[in-house]
Symmetry: C2
Subunit: 516 residues, 2 copies
């Protein structure tokens, strides 16, 4: 065990192999990109295979290898389950899986873990029953939680070596040119999958929309694809769009959003050509609505919006309020369609979006990021991974990436959720260090990080209650009471990697076998 | 010296280090991509530098390193001369240069070679005075001639390791997002430069059109660019478009084009959804004109046109005769503008265009390629590099790539040029092996390679004189006489790499010091 700069205990061998967190930009060093293998194709060679089974045979996938998937289909994904089912049928064991994220729909993984088919996982996060099962200790090896930028960094640097990437391809030709904007399961940007395709030794495109050569636009080119398999369905459109774009009517969320928009417009960053990123939650989406009003009233246009894209950003672009969209992932169907239609709506890969070790990520050019939180503590550390019961139920996403890189990061969250406080003494799990968090916005008011004296005088102009983070915590505790400590076991069930590859926290087992 | 499969002598150390040509697909083996270095950029870091001088200093460019340039500005390029001038001023010596090609405008290289600034060159070709100077032996080390696909392969595999790529950027933002379709020196596709940017350790974008962030569309992303330098002018638009698109009125060229179009339409490949590539010469462009008529008359549409793109292909796409264009390079201004305007006109990189060791190049999907020749011999070997005097004056281009990969390769060339025969006993220099060449079209008729029995019965349907290649040679010699052997010296001034990395021929010194 080693204690890192945030006083979090990181177990061996993780603390020794990749180092522990020492500060936002402490581990930004020169390196060499990974050197994936290439099996060249001659004229006349076909990439088209009859089945996922044949693809697994042809790639030579075997025990102990690492495979990857993308999460652009979110709750509508059918690819991971299809592939895992066949792998299981073929008796392959001891696999590492490195999906860009995992959804509720991937619950069958629990059984594959229990039976030794999957023995190692890295992901942005874990949801629902899988998160609970892992938090209860069903894996021997801890899951490695990586941010979206951190995963891209790990793949580009070779820390994650993908033997075979299985890529759900909304449209694909026989030679492997893929895009996500056409076909039956359109998901829009394939920003996460692009990196897998570039750096995996072998890439299998799985599609339900095989189109004539050459398929354009080309998100993933034929030069990054080894095999193409056609199946009946790769994704459920309803699941792809599930739950993302809801326009909240919740008065608490609307108040948080209104406060957040007031912070933005009072900040020095709200000027012609500014840039922003918002999330998908109710409050976050509602921020766009208030911001849009302010942008119109004050005639301030944004140069770009970034990130996971929602229809509210697309509408702002189509209204002329936002010049361009840089899109690593689409959260709803209208955004996916916009990517196909609007030349100013541009697909980027996960490295360009957020990697800390790239030649410069787009988030480095970002003014304002609106981010969510399960917990924030009085050091401004943020937890977006574990619930108040210590169970893994969230995802790292681009949280620590954007927070570190943008000029003003804002956490929007209700001060309490039912009987659970959001602002606390110490978050269960640190995903984003407090040094990266500038403003916390709740329905009771905002707290500006004292580490940002340049933002403090904004408080004078703000028509929003300004409190210290301790006052917000006190307010939360006055409603919910001070939370009881979680009873953790000793076993480490997940380690949380910071975007630079160092370890920022570890998650311990909960539940019956937990001792204290 | 080793004799290769074409009985050409390949000198040491080339024959030992990379092998000699043994057949079109003899050296297609698995390998690993190169692993370029990355110097990460933190938020707030600027890439913008004041001058080319500062860029050279910041990259740490020093004696013995390898630098690269792209040739998308062709005779209008100002970037290579600007950079070399500064390098020379700074006293850096012994450089290897690896431009994608070299134009007449780069004549100052002669002086840099003589003074030891440049001691090693790889290029697609050499023109004019530089070609003559090198053929006369001014370099100690032979120039390595690589095809466009071969260069991409060599860069991707690490055979060419680029320390610093200097990339002329028609439009660029401060963080290095580049495209070729906007700005003062629009050249369209940046297909060759894309590979340099991906695999060079350091990349300097040199632009005369600095635009607000984010510059889109993005041909070369910020994640592949280290520094950005603004200069007054990177290219002369007149030079960029120079000489490419001329609609010939030469009756000989028109006859060749008519014959070629008849071969195409009589072939089994002329069917709905076929694909083709043409060159830029007078006859080649005229082929498009006749082909267009036939396509209209017989209602046969092409699925795609590939390669170096000319306006005649763009017009066919805009008329609906060609569905899509895959574009690695634009030969004229209208093509560059079309790339910006038409979503079905798609930019691809040189690896995807033509690399023999990629996961599958676009040429592997190509039906018909129209190619030029300086000489063709009775084994169907083609020379596009050296003149009848043995002097280097041409370029390998994509010749051997497309010829090997497409289903029917056609050489269009006048049987004689003045007193010089095109069809000969033995070409001075083999760039494309006869196994890759299917049909030779001259103004006297066509010769079909006997190695393609499946094409022979096409002759019966052809309203064009069909001859053997020996008959074409005899006809040529009857006009010009049998050419005298060239007086070569012993010194090897260039080695010609085949697309797979093996060596297919060597070019020896000519001129005063040549012995025989």
């Amino acid at each position: 065990m080693t204690r890192n700069a945030l006083n979090r205990e990181i177990p061996e061998p993780y603390s020794s192999s990749c180092g522990v967190y020492e500060g936002q930009f402490a581990h930004i060093n020169d390196y060499h990109r990974a050197a994936p293998g290439v099996h060249p194709r001659k004229p006349g060679d076909s990439k088209l295979l009859d089945s996922i089974h044949e693809a697994i045979v042809r790639t030579g996938l075997k025990d102990g290898m690492t495979i990857s998937f993308h999460h652009h289909f979110r709750e509508g994904d059918r690819v991971m389950n299809l592939v895992m089912e066949e792998i299981d049928r073929m008796g392959i064991k001891n696999l590492s899986i490195a999906p860009s994220s995992i959804a509720n729909v991937h619950e069958p993984l629990i059984d594959y873990i229990k039976r030794g088919v999957v023995t190692s996982i890295t992901s942005s996060g874990l949801r629902d029953k899988l998160g609970a099962a892992i938090s209860h200790g069903i894996m021997d090896e801890p899951v490695i939680i990586r941010s979206h930028g951190g995963r891209a960094r790990a793949i580009v640097s070779g820390e994650i070596h993908i033997d075979v990437a299985f890529i759900g391809a909304p449209s694909c030709d026989e030679y492997g040119n893929i895009n996500g904007t056409e076909g039956k399961a359109t998901c829009g940007s394939l920003g996460y999958a692009k990196i897998d395709a570039k750096y995996a030794d072998q890439v299998v495109a799985i599609t339900d929309s095989l189109v004539p050569y050459p398929n354009t636009p080309i998100s993933i080119p034929q030069t990054d694809v080894d095999y193409v398999v056609q199946v009946d369905s790769i994704g459920d459109p309803a699941g792809i769009a599930k739950g993302a774009t809801r326009l909240t009517k919740n008065p608490k969320e609307l108040l948080i959003a209104e406060y957040a928009a007031k912070v933005i417009t009072a900040s020095k960053y709200f000027r012609p050509g500014f840039s922003f990123q918002t999330g998908t939650g109710g409050a976050s989406l509602a921020v766009s609505r208030y911001l849009r009003q302010a942008m119109k009233e004050r005639d301030v246009h944004a140069s770009f919006a970034l990130g996971g894209i929602t229809n509210s950003m697309v509408e702002m672009m189509e209204e002329g309020l936002v010049d361009k969209i840089l899109d690593v992932q689409d959260f709803d169907h209208p955004s996916a369609l916009s990517l196909a239609r609007n030349p100013q709506h541009y697909e980027i890969d996960a490295e360009m979006y957020a990697s800390a070790l790239s030649k410069g990520a787009a988030i480095n050019q970002l003014d304002i990021a609106i981010l969510s939180a399960l917990e924030v503590d009085t050091d401004f550390n943020v937890n977006v991974l574990t619930g108040s019961d210590g169970v893994i139920r969230g995802a790292s996403g681009g949280h620590c990436d954007t927070a570190a890189a943008c000029k003003m990061s804002m956490i929007v969250a209700p001060l309490v959720r039912g009987r659970i406080p959001t602002v606390v003494d110490r978050v269960n799990t640190v995903v984003t260090p407090g040094d990266s968090v500038d403003v916390v916005v709740t329905e009771y008011g905002v707290a500006i990080n004292p580490a940002r004296p340049d933002l403090q005088d904004m408080a004078k102009r703000l028509d929003v209650p300004c409190l210290t983070i301790q006052e917000l915590r006190d307010k939360a505790y006055s409603i919910t009471g001070r939370p009881d400590p979680i009873r953790y076991g000793d076993k480490v069930v997940a380690v949380v990697e910071y975007r630079d590859g160092s370890f920022i926290d570890a998650v311990r087992q909960v539940g019956e076998s937990a001792t204290c």
